[in-house]
Symmetry: C2
Subunit: 653 residues, 2 copies
């Protein structure tokens, strides 16, 4: 083994935050802080200094800020990321020769000590640093150096020491540290920064073809434009559209997923492609590209973001099938394999073969689809089943899109093995569907949400909590009625800063195929025209929840959800708050949609900065009821016949 010639002179270890030893970037949104800590130490007894260095990838210059030393060789610093795109950060640490000398000479300065030699050593250090100093500072240091030399010549040891370790010199030396005995951590650690809407948004999913007002008439983009205003009025930030492309004919599915379609059946939008085109075409019945452009313009006016479904399926009539048969899987008889999840068969859909010998052709085409729709005004993609494609494809294609359009947001629809869900987030998906939809009990909600928002996952994984989807009508909604719809909306909207519902939720639609989580008469296979003012709707509650979220900085953070003690297993309580405690929200929810529940809620006064004997304001933002509380124990009662949840803003007087 060779003698190392240029080894790190300072040890920098265990840097946080980082994901998998720096293999993947951490994620932030614009304006968020990155709080960094690291173990920094060195052999021997030198004093150390450390700086945190950050820059946008591509910039030459690092922006530096000092780190401070805590217990047990742990150092701390922080910075804020100010623009979208890829950033990088690192740490430089070095032996602080001047401060080490100050420490040494201070310790040695006992009565009678001859410190001539130490003072001469100090002068060497001062002169080295002076050479590094900017002009004005250099002059100041050189002035003091001259004074020290005079004092030394005059035998005034104490005077020389005072000049060398004095506050003026310390301030000057801080401006020109000699970092030659140091180390800069390499390679730097990456940060992927996106827009705030990545971490704070309410999503609303609707089928454009269902937005008409006449039953059985195919809705259009123009109908959807009208609908957008209502979606905006409810307070949603993102409208998510299932595929809007032409739909295949062969093996088209009929109503309720029946194997045989009858004339007039519109088919599943997920079976993409026919004679009108494929992934870069519009279903003609929805309208023209002009209609699409109007839809986009209206969204822009309303400040609604469009999320489009990205689905790597092709119908047998998709142009790719004829043009690139090698992009598909083949059976021994030469025919193309349709999708299967044995014993289920999906004859209307051909999956793509990502391992095809023409991988370059297929992967580039997949990229082209993303770029096409970005050009058409789409900034967010909900990606269908990413866990059935190779992960390196996602890392590549998201990287390629981001290189051109760092503002694009990818949502992974992967209800799969937990580790795959995490890996997809690590390689670039900004948001992920979660298991929230099936977590109903207090204990499982507490455990799952803590895992998402308090562990290392929060550095790279943002859970988009959907209360329902076209594929999932969970049992709690089928059986729990209107109270359950209210409860699940409150939980989704306050446990995560990013949540969504699929249209019909506000009408408490809950008719399911018997024994399944599928909707009866699902929109996936037919057009559904709804009366949005139907009795029993919870539109006003959804609207109120979204308003509360927009007014509350605490609910806009995807940070540590702090669960609170409440002595009834049917009730759950938790707090979200800003770092400075200027906004503190406490949610209390009755998880039992059938019965009244009551409990004592424990308020962690110290955490909230409230004294034991202090009165404080507790305003329920859902009901507009105002309370004045004191002490840490509060009696709460929630009932299906009155209210199922509190969203309480806590304020000191």
């Amino acid at each position: 083994m060779m003698i190392p010639q240029d080894y790190p002179r300072v040890i920098i270890e265990a840097v946080e935050p980082q994901v998998d030893g720096g293999r993947f970037p951490i994620k932030r949104v614009v304006g968020e802080r990155v709080v960094v800590s690291a173990d920094i130490y060195k052999e021997g007894h030198d004093k150390l200094a450390a700086v945190l260095k950050v820059r946008k990838v591509g910039e030459k210059r690092w922006h530096e800020s000092p780190m401070t030393q805590g217990d047990n060789d742990r150092w701390h610093g922080e910075f804020t990321v100010a623009a979208i795109g890829r950033w990088e950060y690192t740490i430089e640490a070095y032996a602080e020769r001047y401060l080490s000398w100050v420490d040494e000479i201070t310790k040695k300065n006992v009565p009678g000590a001859n410190l001539n030699s130490e003072l001469l050593e100090g002068l060497v250090i001062l002169k080295t640093s002076a050479a590094l100093a900017p002009g004005a500072e250099r002059a100041r240091i050189n002035g003091i150096i001259t004074a020290i030399e005079s004092a030394l010549a005059a035998g005034e040891q104490q005077g020389a020491i005072d000049l060398g370790i004095g506050s003026v010199m310390r301030r000057s030396m801080a401006s020109c540290p000699d970092r030659s005995e140091g180390y800069e951590l390499a390679p730097p650690l990456a940060i992927l920064v996106n827009r705030p809407i990545t971490r704070f948004a309410a999503w609303y999913e609707f089928f454009p073809r269902s937005q008409g007002t006449m039953p059985y008439r195919h809705g259009t983009l123009q109908d959807s434009i009208r609908r957008l205003r209502e979606v905006k009025a409810m307070g949603f930030d993102v409208v998510y559209l299932p595929p809007i492309h032409p739909i295949g004919h062969s093996f088209r599915k009929g109503k309720n997923n029946s194997l045989v379609a009858v004339p007039g059946d519109v088919g599943s939008p997920w079976a993409i492609g026919n004679e009108h085109g494929g992934h870069m075409a519009l279903e003609p019945q929805l309208g023209t590209w002009d209609d699409w452009d109007q839809f986009v313009a209206t969204c822009r006016d309303l400040r609604i973001e469009i999320a489009l479904d990205y689905v790597m399926n092709c119908s047998p009539e998709h142009p790719y099938v004829a043009e690139h048969p090698d992009w598909f899987f083949h059976r021994p008889d030469g025919s193309i394999k349709y999708a299967e999840n044995p014993p289920k068969k999906y004859q209307d859909v051909y999956p793509l073969n990502f391992g095809t010998s023409d991988r370059a052709g297929l992967w580039q085409e997949m990229l082209k689809i993303f770029l096409f729709w970005v050009d058409k005004g789409v900034t967010t993609f909900r990606v269908d089943n990413p866990h059935t494609k190779p992960v390196p494809f996602w890392e590549w294609v998201i990287g390629e899109v981001h290189r051109r359009h760092p503002e694009v947001i990818f949502l992974a629809e992967a209800f799969t093995r937990p580790k795959m869900m995490r890996l997809l987030a690590k390689v670039g998906f900004a948001q992920s569907y979660t298991y929230f939809t099936w977590r109903n009990e207090k204990e499982e909600l507490t455990e799952y949400v803590s895992e998402l928002t308090s562990g290392e996952m929060k550095e790279y994984f943002t859970g988009n909590f959907f209360a329902n989807t076209p594929d999932i009508l969970p049992p709690i909604l089928q059986y729990g009625g209107r109270p359950a719809f209210i409860v699940r909306a409150v939980l989704a909207a306050t446990l995560s800063s990013v949540y969504g519902i699929y249209s019909g939720y506000e009408l408490c639609e809950n008719a399911a195929l018997p024994g399944k989580e599928e909707y009866l008469d699902s929109e996936k296979y037919e057009i559904r025209v709804r009366n949005w003012k139907a009795a029993g709707n919870i539109t006003h509650i959804i609207t109120r929840i979204n308003q509360i979220r927009h007014d509350s900085p605490a609910l806009q953070t995807y940070n540590h959800v702090r669960f609170l003690a409440v002595d009834n297993p049917q009730m759950i309580a938790y707090a979200k708050m800003t770092d400075d405690l200027s906004d503190i929200i406490v949610c209390v929810v009755n998880l039992d949609p059938f019965h009244k529940q009551y409990a004592n809620l424990h308020i962690p006064l110290a955490t909230f900065g409230i004294a034991e004997d202090e009165q404080y304001q507790a305003d329920d933002l859902l009901s507009d009821e105002r309370y004045r509380w004191s002490g840490s124990s509060v009696y709460i009662e929630l009932s299906p016949t009155t209210k199922m949840a509190h969203i309480i803003k806590i304020r000191r007087w």
Copy 2:
């Protein structure tokens, strides 16, 4: 970004054990197991298989063993390391095409299904594997393939399936897996394997110059040879010698570290070098190289290992000072800097400058010293203050020694910042001094020993628990008298599998410099001749403890020390056991050297494999008292006037 051409087809993550993401090796001793686990998964629905691969570094061929799948995509495997040196291991995982096919066709095989296409696909898989199979297996597979084809031709679908998925075919296919859709983790992870004595040894430290029998006469190696037999009789495995080199004259320290030596003062052995030589010379008063060779031969006969102190200090008379003045630190006046720890001064010692411009010269010389003494029969080095030298030096020099002599053991004497202690172990020190010497309370012992033996530190850090050293006479020994000496010996010898004492411990020597942890009349500065049979000695107890350790496989493992509940804060209890529960040891110790203490001890019956209502044997190996116990609660009484500790072997009837 380029489209990745050869990406991992299977994901292998979070492999354990590993140290700092594979940057450093894990450590084992010969015959120990390595239990490996990893997250292994892939996109889609393929069945996977994984093998654990291990080899000695330099071998071509991997030794493989299958891994098994546990919960949540965690896979498990293990192997044993059979020889000292560097090993490496990795994991190869792959999509198991045959088993995936078995799974698919089994799911699809419902009444009326036409599986002709699937069977043809299966034949492709079988033929691919047959080509990979060894001769006999290939013939068997080809026979079945022919039978399947006949069945297919005859329209016997079920018969063809039965042949394809039957147990004969499964067994054959297991012998020739097609791993083309797979990934082998790279680079492999390293293992440093050393001799069992690395992790199981009792150390005894003595000064050869004190082994004479006449007061004031300088002891010799011949005296030490006589003493070796007594050390062996006490059951020690390693004899550790402070430096045995010539000692400097300038600023030689007098008795009790006085600044002025008087004629006859022998000086500190840590101030190495004079006109007789330096680190590769023997102090002439100790004897000749012939005497040394006899000492080594006696150790070999007695199966005692020699540990030599390795001290990077030079006296002003060390040959290096004249030959390599550039290896030292210089003051502004050109003189060489002596060692300091302000305000303390060590004028008899010059530290070496590891950052010297002649780094190659200095570092190679330091290596030469190690190799010289290995040639002279030394296999273990206790390294003095490694934390004041650059860590890359240690990684380099230990690597160089191990490349030639993998059997050499390095003990780090670094009482310093915890993270530095860990890093020194990571870069190659097999053993480390610890803070055990100052941990006396139940809570601090529990916390510290758990950190050392149960966390990730156990993968690379072996704590050598010294009860005293020539530098450390801890307060508990100064004030606690003979009971404290017994307690601390039992704790050291049973909490860690590697422990040591410095001679005089067995005589309960406890005279200290007032207000310090330093011995009065310390052997560091003078010759001390002792009466080894002095009244009150605990030689027989030390001997018994060492005997118990040699008889107990449980006490020979440096694994998880399991602390047991005992309802008295002055008492501590813990168990060590072998994996197969064939040896279970329970220690109970009274931490209060002044008073009788009693408590109820909780025996974790289930952990020990004992039924609630079962009687079991509990033999105190220290006192030879035998008990029959039942139930989980046992009354224990320990007293300074009778006994201070139990070392109990638990046995089922």
